[in-house]
């Protein structure tokens, strides 16, 4: 019950965070030197027509009033209409959300599956050749830009080795819609061809996104494990003759995980930010790709909507991380 209470409390707090995001996004889109009214009115519009459009869109109102109007529409689920697709933005985003969730989850899973074992082994073999190699790789993992890595991987794995597809989410028919995550839907409906194909398409973008995140997880796991190895419960467990596997992968890792889980919450931001670029490069039909398109088209309502959704994903992830944190560290739950 305290866990649920804590969960609920964080959820309420996150509404405040989202409100802040709306204000910031709104302010930014208003300082950008482009005139949405002119864009909507079209190339051949006269000054009069543009002024009329501006009045129609409420863009001539004071800024605070525009913000309140925007918030009011948001509460009704109305994010405006995209200039580019001429469809409600909320609908556009909802249709593209599953692709981004699938990519983000896939990358995070990959990053955790690589990052934690490598971090633990690197800590256990501290100072060895392996540890140094891992350090070089993780530092590169931080330093390398997503778009560069994406293009290099495309060159290597697609152009030269022809192992993976260049872009897209699936070839042929998508599996029947349940969650919108192709891999999950394929799994649920037993559509093995679609599962294989979806995974095959998912591989490259998620590797690209996962690498910097994995690097972060490796660093924090390594530090956490080293710190935990120095704590007195380790020699005690050794003195009582517990198997090393239990001491390392349960006792030490559990103690190290508290900081790693916090970090996973924080790198979600990096991951979602990276997704914007990576989706554009791999033509992945998610929120990121949509955001890039909207920016290119100066479609501000759409940019604002997408930014808001991505922020919401980040906030929700952190609420979940917080709950996981409480499970990993029961003392935190009591605080």
């Amino acid at each position: 019950m305290p866990l649920l209470l804590r969960f609920g409390k964080r959820l309420v707090w996150s509404i405040g965070t989202l409100l802040g995001v709306v204000v910031i996004v709104f302010a930014i889109s208003n300082v950008i030197p482009a005139d949405p009214a002119a864009l909507v009115a079209g190339d051949s519009a006269t000054a009069e027509q543009i002024a009329e459009t501006r009045a129609r869109l409420g863009l001539d109102l004071p800024l605070y009033q525009q913000l309140f109007n925007y918030l009011g529409r948001l509460l009704q689920g109305d994010m405006g209409t995209s200039i580019f697709t001429a469809r409600p933005i909320a609908e556009d985003l909802l249709g593209r959300l599953p692709a981004t969730i699938e990519l983000a989850l896939g990358s995070m899973l990959l990053a955790v599956l690589i990052g934690i074992p490598v971090g633990v082994i690197s800590a256990l073999k501290r100072g060895s050749l392996l540890d140094h190699a891992v350090r070089v790789l993780t530092v590169s993992g931080f330093a390398v830009a997503n778009f560069w890595l994406a293009i290099m991987l495309q060159l290597l794995l697609v152009m030269w080795l022809d192992l993976l597809p260049l872009f897209g989410r699936i070839e042929g028919d998508a599996p029947a819609f349940i969650t919108g995550l192709y891999t999950v839907d394929a799994l649920l409906t037993g559509n093995w061809r679609a599962l294989g194909d979806a995974l095959w398409h998912l591989a490259l973008p998620s590797i690209t996104l996962a690498l910097p995140v994995a690097a972060t997880i490796v660093r924090f796991t390594r530090t956490g494990v080293l710190e935990a190895l120095g704590r007195p419960f380790v020699p005690y467990a050794q003195a009582m003759g517990l198997p090393p596997v239990i001491i390392v992968w349960r006792y030490v890792l559990r103690a190290a995980l508290t900081s790693v889980v916090t970090q996973i919450g924080l790198v979600t931001g990096t991951l979602l930010g990276g997704a914007v670029v990576v989706e554009a490069i791999f033509d992945w039909p998610g929120l990121g790709g949509y955001t890039v398109n909207s920016i290119m088209m100066s479609d501000y309502s759409a940019v604002m909507g997408a930014a808001l959704w991505i922020a919401a994903m980040y906030v929700i992830t952190n609420v979940i991380v917080d709950a996981v944190q409480a499970m990993v560290d029961p003392r935190a739950a009591a605080r």
Binding site: F233, Y236, M240, V245, R254
Partner: protein, 334 residues
């Protein structure tokens, strides 16, 4: 036959300034059901000796003989000692009950982990079983009952509830009782207790000490008890071994030890206890370094009786009274 027989045990730790000779040919024996106090200042090697017996010296290198139930532990190999002896026939009570328990696992889980591998009614696990430890479930309901009974024995109130608690929710005294319970649960023949009361409040020290003492007596378990506190040692030990800088100085039955200490170091140590006149005497000088320690008897630079021979040659053990052994060229008069 003694349960544990340590003969001419040397332990060296590598350091930046050269090898530290933490133990310099120490011999010691513990009989069945005997309580032996290993007394000395910090750094005298008492903890190193306990670690050597457990086979957890880390970077330290041991040379000599450690015979347990007639079996040479150094020859048996670290891996086999861990699986078959450590936590089973020989268990351990740590000095620091605060840090020694895992802060994030509930008490019941930590006991269950111990019992999964060290329960007295189970065969030692094979190497493969240990490798697969994360993927197998070895916990048994019977272990929980045993744990509750043992927590009752060590007088932890509401054992069932205690199992569901985190170590941080227990008091220091309760945590130390818990580690005593964990040391007894595998039904060992020998318990090594490393200053088990040092971290506790003085008022609780005596309680925990008495409890440990009563339990090992009741269950007929041998106890090797390291302490820097002669008062504590006098209360519960059958025999006392005094160590100085990695060498044993004097070994004697407790009564004979306090009645007639013969080694100059022991005599000085006893005089440094507060006496009726309230006079505290210290021992001039300080503990020698373990890297390049003084030759011969390591106490000679501080010894009032020292001669040239003391620096040149380590005195052999001599039995000066029944069971009272001494390693000194110039003992104090009885």
């Amino acid at each position: 036959m003694s349960l544990l027989e340590v003969q001419r045990l040397f332990v060296r730790y590598p350091t930046e300034r050269g090898p530290a000779q933490a133990l310099d040919g120490v011999s010691l024996s513990i009989g069945q059901g005997e309580v032996v106090g290993l007394v000395g200042e910090s750094g005298c090697g008492k903890t190193t000796l306990a670690k050597a017996v457990l086979g957890i010296l880390g970077s330290g290198e041991a040379e000599g003989v450690i015979r347990f139930r007639g079996q040479d532990l150094l020859g048996l190999g670290a891996d086999a000692v861990r699986r078959e002896i450590r936590g089973r026939a020989i268990t351990f009570v740590p000095q620091d009950p605060f840090g020694s328990l895992h802060p994030l696992y509930r008490v019941g889980d930590q006991i269950a982990d111990l019992m999964a591998w060290k329960a007295p009614d189970t065969a030692p696990p094979s190497r493969l079983q240990e490798r697969l430890a994360l993927f197998t479930r070895r916990r048994r309901p019977a272990h929980r009952d045993a744990a509750i009974a043992m927590l009752r024995d060590v007088q932890i109130p509401n054992p069932e509830q205690a199992l569901a608690k985190l170590p941080s929710e227990l008091s220091g005294g309760q945590r130390q009782r818990l580690t005593i319970a964990m040391a007894l649960l595998p039904q060992p023949e020998l318990i090594l207790a490393d200053e088990p009361t040092t971290a506790l409040d003085v008022t609780i020290q005596a309680q925990v000490l008495r409890l440990l003492h009563n339990l090992v007596r009741e269950k007929g378990v041998s106890l090797l008890f390291t302490t820097h506190d002669l008062g504590v040692a006098s209360e519960i030990c059958d025999r006392i071994v005094v160590m100085y800088a990695g060498q044993e100085a004097e070994v004697a039955p407790t009564r004979s030890f306090f009645a007639a200490p013969r080694h100059p170091y022991t005599a000085a140590l006893l005089q440094s206890l507060p006496n009726e006149q309230g006079v505290l005497r210290d021992i001039p000088g300080s503990i020698p370094p373990l890297v390049n320690p003084p030759g011969g008897c390591r106490f000679h630079p501080r010894c009032p009786n020292a001669s040239a021979r003391c620096a040149a040659e380590r005195p052999p053990p001599v039995e000066v009274a029944p069971g009272h052994w001494l390693r000194c060229w110039h003992p104090v008069a009885a």
